[in-house]
Symmetry: none
DNA sequence: GTGGTCTAGACCACC
DNA sequence: GTGGTCTAGACCACA
């Protein structure tokens, strides 16, 4: 993973978001064990406490659960993962529509652009 | 403006991108004077040279032009601005499709989600 | 190389021009590695940043490309080099015609002079 | 005038060259009075001694002559001026042929380029 | 006061 | 050791 953080939002929320992303993307499958906190912290270049906080939030959302001694695991509840995936997609889509609106494209134009884009690789 | 920079890309390119965005969004109209380099630098919290570099790139793209003593101005060529706007929209749309694909949504599902989202503010 | 700079044009543009010249002249062949930035800077007696800027412009023109760790290389695209060579020749020729015009020689007289000069080393 | 000097040759020779140029170009007509040394020096941003030296050389070549009290004048010998003009043109032409040779164009190709160039304003 | 250029010096990622 | 980026600070031309 390549962890990238912006300066305008707490790192732990961004970490949380990115972890949710890799989970719903299936990088870590349902029921799979997550890397230890220390390892994640080292990898992301942040403080272990920050990782802890992000994971707690994911736990609150029901995406991961922890077993005292064995570590943390992705939930085995596929519906939960699916729900999170749908939520992330919805958020992204909403952001996208907002960005396009700021660029002066209404919903119709945006959809038209996407249709057109899917056709083939237009030259950039 | 709220300038936010990520750590995975040079500041000057992000600055360039964000400036292009505010220009094509009409925050600075065609022919309008941009703030002085030093002011932008102070505002964005970066070195004037970095701003200079970003603006030079915008000048190369024909979005702005500079008058040595008077300052920098948005181009008066509306077509240029329109073209840049279309390009930015295309880039965003492409990124979006990629992100959705990573979330497991193909083109049809993505379009359906956008359609559905148009109705109103669904629960967050 | 003997680097000579005039005072009426930025160093980096002159550097760029002179580097283009040695490339299209074949001093550095297609695909060949250029000296490191720091070495060129030392050689030319300018700051490494200035060399960097000149090389970036050459890269933008497609005459050189850089590999982060290995150094900079002349493009392997012979057509690009040939195109640049033709462009330089055209520029030089245009300048020459202008200079001769300022000396009062029209096109016919200029061509005649060049023809005459071809014979051998006339007395200086 | 915009006086520009390189660093690889004594200023006085370059000054001499440029003064010869303005004379044979007719900026100062035959018999016309040249500006005082001090004025030229101020204008060119060099030491009056340097101007003196350049003018002495021009005097040696017969392009100018000095009258103790009245100042320096362009020679009234039109043939001398014409001869200098021809010499300058020859020098320039020789330099040009050399530069084109370094760019890989032989005399035939060079002449062809000039012919082609004179036709119209090709886009750069 | 504006844009533009240049220098000096630092740090980073990559191998 | 390589290219790349960034900062700090200076100077210049121009009006």
């Amino acid at each position: 993973m390549d962890w990238v953080f912006r300066a305008d939002e707490p790192i732990y929320t961004q970490l949380c978001e990115q972890l949710a992303l890799v989970i719903v993307s299936g990088v870590y499958a349902a029921g799979e064990r997550l890397p230890p906190v220390r390892e994640l912290a080292l990898d992301a270049g942040v403080n272990p406490n920050t990782v802890q906080r992000a994971l707690s939030e994911l736990e609150r959302r029901g995406l991961v659960y922890s077993q005292r001694t064995a570590g943390r695991f992705v939930t085995e509840d596929a519906a939960r993962i699916e729900q999170a995936r749908a939520q992330l997609a919805r958020d992204r889509a909403r952001d996208f529509l907002g960005a396009m609106a700021r660029l002066g494209l209404d919903r119709t134009q945006t959809l038209a652009l996407l249709e057109q884009l899917s056709g083939g690789d237009a030259k950039p």
